[in-house]
């Protein structure tokens, strides 16, 4: 038995001795391959990650620089005035004072009188962020015929907050007008330092101009608003 082992050992030594010159380069090649997988590939991945991070940082920095150059030259008074106008046109929440003001100012300008009306406030804490525009719905009885009602809806579509007339029912000298006042919530979390801002476009400026005209048409001192028989009902 021991003799057999000795023979095998001798054979192994013989083979080793004969191929000694191959062993070292093969070990080096295997080590290189191992190094490639263990070291070079992770390092390469790290390089790609770093380059992506640098690219991201660079684009963000460029964006911030552009934002800085835009906001640093804006006139505060102009911006505040434009902001106020557009927020009144499409409020960030249900603007009941604005709505009541608009209804009464329109009725006065159209020369019609209003009956008792009610509206649904809805859930005040709801956060609607869909693409559709939420509205506060009103059904208003107007003591006027077709001409007075037409005048009323023409005017209310050019006042603040923006409204859409859904239906009109005229019966001799009284009418019932259903309309909704738009508002649009804004996710405040989306307003961060890293958002891209752009100056107001020419179309935007034209729209602001149009809204300024609407604003002038809907101006109505709140202190002189006649008390209307309005009742509000909260749901949910």
């Amino acid at each position: 038995m021991n003799e057999k082992i000795n023979i095998e050992l001798r054979s192994f030594r013989f083979i080793l001795e004969k191929n000694k010159s191959y062993i070292f380069p093969i070990i080096v090649i295997v080590a290189s391959v191992l190094l490639f997988f263990q070291f070079v590939i992770p390092q390469f991945n790290l390089l790609l990650k770093t380059q992506a991070e640098v690219k991201d940082l660079r684009s963000k920095t460029e964006m911030l620089k552009e934002n800085l150059s835009i906001v640093s030259i804006i006139d505060d008074d102009t911006l505040n005035s434009q902001y106020k106008t557009m927020i009144s046109a499409l409020p960030l929440s249900k603007d009941f004072i604005g709505i009541l003001n608009s209804i009464n100012a329109t009725a006065q300008k159209a020369g019609v009188s209003l009956g008792s009306f009610s509206f649904k406030i809805g859930n005040l804490s709801s956060s609607e962020n869909g693409d559709i525009f939420p509205v506060v719905k009103f059904t208003i009885p107007v003591n006027a015929g077709i001409t007075g009602s037409n005048s009323f809806i023409q005017m209310i579509s050019k006042t603040f907050p923006l409204a859409q007339v859904d239906s009109i029912l005229v019966n001799n000298n009284s009418s019932i007008i259903s309309l909704g006042f738009y508002y649009k919530l804004l996710n405040i979390a989306s307003v961060s330092q890293y958002i891209r801002v752009s100056p107001v476009s020419q179309n935007g400026l034209e729209l602001i101009g149009q809204m300024k005209e609407f604003e002038a048409a809907s101006s109505f001192p709140i202190s002189s608003v006649p008390i209307v028989n309005a009742s509000a009902s909260a749901t949910q």
Binding site: Y22, F24, P25, V28, I29, S32, F36, F39, V40, Q43, F44, L47, T50, L57, K60, T61, L64, K65, L68, I70, V71, S72, I74, D76, L79, Y83, M86, I87, A89, L90, L92, F133, G145, I146, N150, I153, Q154, S157, L162, Q164, V165, D166, S167, I168, L169, V170, N171, N172, K184, L186, V191, Q193, I195, V197, V200, N203, G204, L207, I208, M211
Partner: protein
């Protein structure tokens, strides 16, 4: 017995082949080691040159400057958001007053409107007149509007009655918008 076998030559050939193989193997080993070393060195240098620290610092500087205008930035963002949304509203909202005006323009002057109902989908008009010609003119005008695809898509005559007491013709029509 063969005496011309050259054993020495064969041994030399094999030895040469072996030496060549070893030479190639040694060369491959050294080349792979150098390649790995070079690639590692290049990657290391590239990582060092792509160091984001400088850009981070620059970004912090810009952020520091922009924080003074945070209020303006937010207002400008909201302003642009409102412009975009108001544009959408103005493009999509239905103008019932325009529809009403165009329909009223087609009403004969002798026709008095008793009932007028309009919504986003349909319109119902009920009126009366002492003259049947006025009623006919009214229906013809609306029929023309349907043919010309102006505002209304269809026209249905709901009723046409003669009120013998007041001697007036009463008409009611319905149209889809």
């Amino acid at each position: 017995m063969s005496t011309d076998i050259n054993l020495l030559l064969r041994t030399n050939e094999e030895s040469l082949k072996r030496k060549k193989r070893i030479k190639i193997l040694n060369f491959a080993a050294i080349a792979s080691l150098i390649c790995i070393g070079l690639v590692s060195l290049i990657i290391f240098i590239l990582i060092q040159t792509a160091n984001p620290t400088a850009i981070k610092k620059e970004q912090e500087d810009v952020l520091g400057k922009i924080s003074q205008f945070q209020d303006r930035q937010s207002k400008l963002f909201i302003l642009n958001n409102r412009i975009e949304n108001i544009n959408k509203i103005l493009k999509t909202r239905k103008d019932l007053s325009k529809t009403m005006n165009e329909l009223l323009a087609k009403m004969p002057s002798n026709l008095s409107i008793n009932n007028f109902e309009i919504n986003n989908a349909s319109i119902i008009i009920a009126g009366q007149s002492k003259s049947l010609y006025t009623i006919a003119e009214f229906i013809n005008n609306l029929t023309d509007m349907v043919y010309r695809k102006e505002i209304i898509k269809s026209l249905t005559l709901n009723s046409l009655v003669l009120d013998a007491g007041s001697k007036t013709y009463q008409v009611s029509v319905k149209s889809d918008l």
